[in-house]
């Protein structure tokens, strides 16, 4: 930081102007249609103003006209990389409102699916992170491993990304007979692949120089800006909903909330890699112990929530995802609000990246792991 400050001061003396560059909406590193209005002084980023809304699809408004099972299928389209967590959030919210207790089998399967989604999401994040920094090969290694998870999803849920596997009161189907074997095979293989990730990128001296001590976010800022997920935990913000307000089978498993206080890009990177190990650990505890039982509770044909307000928080791959449902007793909700993790995370970008170079801005944005439909909804 001190170096960059000096640069700014010295350019003041020569009297130079800042110039504005539009990064996006069509830009390779914004991963979608995000526009960053960046004011630059030479290579140094002075201020970033994010402009969102290019794929705002009005999901909250649409939800007011449809029933609860239908809402679940819409949540797939928000954060498509953690579709299952979003599904689960709505399903849990409806179940809590109706005070339905789902069987243990459902909880176990949901948790396994959550962690598989998290793995898939982090794998994609890893390969995109490498690509943003110019190491294009990581992209294919990440996708190669993610393919196995998507195959598992496809076999059990019937779709690869927009899984729509949850219903209020349980699951859409029971797990496929091959599910357990496939998951175990995948974990066995992925455990040999994950160290390769480290060798290829984590240890690499060029990579380390690009991310070490870049994009600091203090604990105070992380809380104030609501930066959650691995990005927030990198700053020491203990915000894992799985720990603090456990849902599904998370109370029954042992896992660690990975925390670090340094808050730079590398820590955010490392925490995600560690979270992958943690996810593997969680799945391994559950996969052999899925209890017998029904995969869904019998629900009424038309689900009506009692009057009132309901909020459900889950930990999606990017951070805390929340569903706020206001019901007036009809089969459609009165108001639905989705608290998306990316929305809060994005707006802390200026805090992190101002004063760094353009290349660092790209790296910092990668470590935030933004998904644009999640921000725009």
């Amino acid at each position: 930081m001190s170096e960059t400050k000096e640069i700014i001061i010295s350019t003041d003396k020569i009297h130079t102007d800042q110039y504005l560059v539009n990064m996006g909406p069509q830009h390779p590193s914004t991963h979608g249609v995000l526009r960053l209005l960046v004011s630059l002084e030479g290579e140094v980023v002075h201020h970033i103003q994010p402009h969102v809304g290019y794929i705002h699809s009005g999901i909250e408004k649409m939800c007011e006209a449809i029933s609860y099972p239908q809402i679940i299928h819409l949540t797939d389209r928000m954060d498509y990389l953690s579709a299952h967590m979003n599904n689960e959030a709505v399903a849990l919210c409806v179940e809590n409102a109706l005070q339905v207790e789902v069987p243990d089998r459902v909880k176990y399967i949901r948790t396994i699916m959550d962690e598989l989604s998290r793995l898939a999401s982090h794998q994609l994040w890893w390969c995109v992170m490498g690509m943003d920094l110019g190491a294009l090969t990581t992209f294919f290694y990440g996708l190669r491993d993610r393919e196995h998870i998507l195959d598992i999803f496809e076999e059990t849920c019937g779709a690869r990304m927009t899984v729509n596997y949850n219903l209020p009161g349980g699951l859409m189907f029971d797990i496929h007979p091959n599910f357990q074997k496939r998951v175990k095979d995948f974990l066995k293989e992925f455990k040999t692949k994950l160290p390769e990730y480290d060798e290829l990128l984590t240890g690499n001296v060029i990579f380390r120089q690009r991310v070490d001590n870049i994009g600091h976010l203090t604990l105070e800022d992380a809380i104030a800006w609501g930066v959650t997920g691995p990005s927030g935990r990198g700053s020491g913000f203990s915000c894992d909903v799985r720990k603090h307000q456990p849902y599904s089978a998370y109370p029954m498993v042992q896992f660690e909330e990975k925390l670090d206080t340094k808050g730079d890009s590398f820590v955010r990177y490392r925490l995600r890699i560690e979270e992958m190990w943690e996810s593997i650990h969680i799945i391994e505890q559950l996969i052999d112990n899925i209890p017998e039982g029904d995969y869904a509770v019998k629900m009424k044909g038309v689900i009506k929530l009692p009057e009132g307000e309901f909020y459900q928080r889950v930990e999606s791959a990017r951070g805390e995802f929340g569903v706020y449902i206001v019901s007036d007793g009809k089969k459609n909700p009165y108001r639905v609000k989705f608290r998306s993790p990316g929305f809060s995370n994005l707006f802390a970008l200026n805090k992190m990246a101002a004063g760094h170079k353009i290349a660092d801005l790209v790296a910092i944005m990668s470590t935030l792991d933004l998904v644009i439909p999640d921000i725009d909804r």
């Binding site: 110039y19 560059v21 830009h27 390779p28 590193s29 290579e43 490498g130 690509m131 943003d132 920094l133 110019g134 190491a135 294009l136 090969t137 992209f139 294919f140 290694y141 190669r144 290829l200 990128l201 690499n204 060029i206 990579f207 120089q209 690009r210 170079k357 353009i358 290349a359 660092d360 790209v362």
Partner: protein, 362 residues
């Protein structure tokens, strides 16, 4: 010596004599220039296309993919199809560009590439210009290319292009130093700047073996700096796809883009060819001092094959760099040059001088 059958000196000399018999000296010069020009043009076009294909296949292999498979057997005609597509594309000139410079830039880059090609010895006698300052000429000419990049970036009237061009300017200015100094190290060993003499000097053993550790260090530095000078990953800051979309050639389309694209690959070839000529014995076969029969077998392989095999090896190494490493940041790229490569290089020159003074290399 089984060597002489592969000597092109006689052939070119005979051609020259027969032209002189039938034509006036002026006409001869014109005809010879035309032939050479056409040869180079064909070579650049075909070899450039092949390099693009090779790059795509190599990168696919690194990434556990197959690469182009559709057009022709194993996608061999893919790049030709791409080239035809580029030829037929509309040439878009954006609003507000400096038209003259905008159109000039691709040609400057192409011309610089052509000029550097002129001194490369492909085989004995197969060399257009044999300057006595050949190495110096190559380093001088290869830095003309950056003018093309700067002009392209500036005239495009695009902020991304300008940033890319400025990065490229800073980068090539610094790395020119390392390239020259690592070549100087080898010139101390070779005792000449003439490329044919340098190659001849490696008849018994390549310079990289002859020069012991200093030559190896110089080779590594030359590879790094050469990669940087061709704007290839991990030094592709000027293009930096994820930061600047395409850097200095963002606004170019069609055949003008193809010029930049081709020039990048031909520059890569030039760097590899220089590395081969100066460090790896040029078109000389691999010889080990005492293994007579082995040396004879090696002699039977034509020098052109040797040359292109070695060039291919070096190009593969450069591609390997690109498809493994992340990109450096602009200040890090300068740190690498000024804080690491330059001091190491200077020490290395000293070491090499010591080696040469003590006649250790013989």
């Amino acid at each position: 010596m089984g060597f002489n059958i592969y000597d092109f000196t006689g052939m070119t000399h005979n051609m020259h004599v027969s032209f002189m018999e039938h034509m006036s000296p002026l006409m001869t010069t014109i005809v010879e220039w035309t032939i050479i020009g056409v040869c180079y043009l064909l070579f650049i076009a075909l070899f450039g296309l092949f390099l693009v294909y090779a790059e795509r296949k190599v990168c696919a292999m690194f990434q556990q993919r197959m690469g182009p498979m559709r057009v022709g057997y194993w996608g061999l005609l893919q790049t030709i199809a791409d080239f035809i597509k580029l030829l037929m594309k509309e040439l878009i000139t954006p609003k507000g560009v400096d038209k003259f410079l905008y159109n000039l830039a691709p040609f400057i880059i192409m011309i610089a590439t052509f000029m550097a090609m002129a001194v490369l010895p492909f085989a004995k006698g197969l060399q257009t210009l044999d300057f006595d300052i050949g190495v110096f000429y190559v380093t001088a000419v290869s830095s003309i290319g950056v003018i093309g990049i700067l002009i392209a970036g500036w005239s495009s009237n695009n902020k991304y292009s300008l940033i890319g061009a400025m990065r490229s300017g800073a980068q090539i200015l610094s790395y020119e130093l390392s390239v020259s100094l690592s070549l100087v190290t080898m010139i101390i060993l070779a005792g000449s700047m003439q490329l044919s003499v340098i190659v001849e000097g490696q008849r018994d053993a390549w310079f990289i073996f002859k020069g012991h550790v200093p030559a190896l260090i110089a080779f590594v530095i030359f590879l790094i700096a050469g990669t940087a000078e061709t704007n290839r990953g991990p030094f592709d800051l000027a293009e930096a796809e994820s930061e600047l979309t395409a850097g200095f050639h963002t606004e170019y389309s069609g055949i003008k883009f193809a010029f930049f694209f081709l020039a990048e690959y031909i520059n890569m070839f030039i760097v590899a060819a220089m590395a081969v000529t100066v460090f790896l014995g040029g078109w000389m076969p691999l010889h080990f001092g005492s293994l007579e029969s082995f040396n004879h077998v090696m002699d039977f392989i034509p020098p052109l094959v040797w040359f292109f095999l070695k060039v291919g090896g070096v190009i593969f190494l450069i591609m390997w760099f690109k498809w493994t490493f992340p990109r450096l940041r602009v200040d890090q790229i300068l740190t690498l040059e000024w804080k690491y490569l330059l001091p190491i290089n200077l020490v290395n020159i000293l070491l090499m001088s010591l080696v040469v003074l003590t006649k250790f290399h013989l």
